[in-house]
Symmetry: C2
Amino acid sequence: MATSVVIPEATRKRMLLLLHLLETWPESKITSLQISGQTGWKDSLIRHDLWLLGYNKGVSNGYQTVDLRTAINQALGLEAQTKNCCIVGLGRLGAALLDEKLTEDTPFVIKAGFDSNVNRVEILRSNFPLYPAHDMNWVIKQEKISLAVLTVADKDAQVMAERLIAAGIKGIVNMTRCVLKVPPEIKVENLSVINALKLVN
Amino acid sequence: MATSVVIPEATRKRMLLLLHLLETWPESKITSLQISGQTGWKDSLIRHDLWLLGYNKGVSNGYQTVDLRTAINQALGLEAQTKNCCIVGLGRLGAALLDEKLTEDTPFVIKAGFDSNVNRVEILRSNFPLYPAHDMNWVIKQEKISLAVLTVADKDAQVMAERLIAAGIKGIVNMTRCVLKVPPEIKVENLSVINALKLVN
DNA sequence: ATTTGTGAACAGTTTCACAGCG
DNA sequence: CGCTGTGAAACTGTTCACAAAT
């Protein structure tokens, strides 16, 4: 097994994609070469990743998909109970995320949507409770929400992030184009569509 | 100047965020330490990034924001004429991206939306022309579309990606949870909200 | 005094090579 | 004999240290 227990960021990202691939893999067994064929990643990299996770049940035989899935989930701390999250900013993009299907078969539960426009909160139809932004603090605490998806206007991104953190949020999926300045213990993933288009262009 | 002309991926990502920061920076000058204060990145990293870009107009005085912006745009090849893109898969998420405001002040123009459900294509209201998925090939060629945002159901992701590539697409923003297997010359950015939630959890 | 430009040192990530298991 | 497990080697990206510029 690998000496360290810290799983590198790059490996975590691949493992999430692999997890999804395993869910739809038709056979009960899979080899590092087959994974390589499906993903384009080097087979040695996949074996190395699994080695980092401390997984070694595949010796010379390939991996049992079911077993591998639970191992990855466990290693990444995803097998735990559900996590509560919220959507902050209910413009077109934010409102589109208020969809039960999105979190179906995932460990995430959307507990609330927030928008600073009280009017929008009242008009929008949703299966989730919506609140004006000034209720963020108590709702996040009461509903034990630990994750947020930030879909506000760019100019409000930093202020809203700070209010989320003050309310006790631990991770933010940032869909704005802004860099969020946050304390080191808060995790942020940047998911701006425009920035992504610039990267693939 | 840096010897190499290849700008690393990590630097490109930071530069896109920096670009957006510069757009809203109130003063005409900015120093690497000020950028560090806004982003949390080490000041030396910022200077190193700019060195990689071949930028050296800041000597001991900080950078002129306007000048720096054009330099970054140039180095990343973003100052060119507009790029045409399309949205593939018009579920809640895809439909939400059919928004003029999204590409406002960006070099991107949405030229088409596609969905394999003909019914949905006819019913959806949009400022952009919508087509059934089987028209993808000719529309992409006729409209000279080079980039696609993929928001289809996971099970259709790989097939649709292949059809896009066959039609001549060069870059894909992949909002599904799947790994896309594509030829090395095609650029892909993965932007799955669920995978991002798993990363920040 | 402050701030950049630069390369060397350091840290993180991927690939290689191959021993050992089934 | 094909396939994994493992550490070393190669590579990429980040931080440090300091000379040079204003």
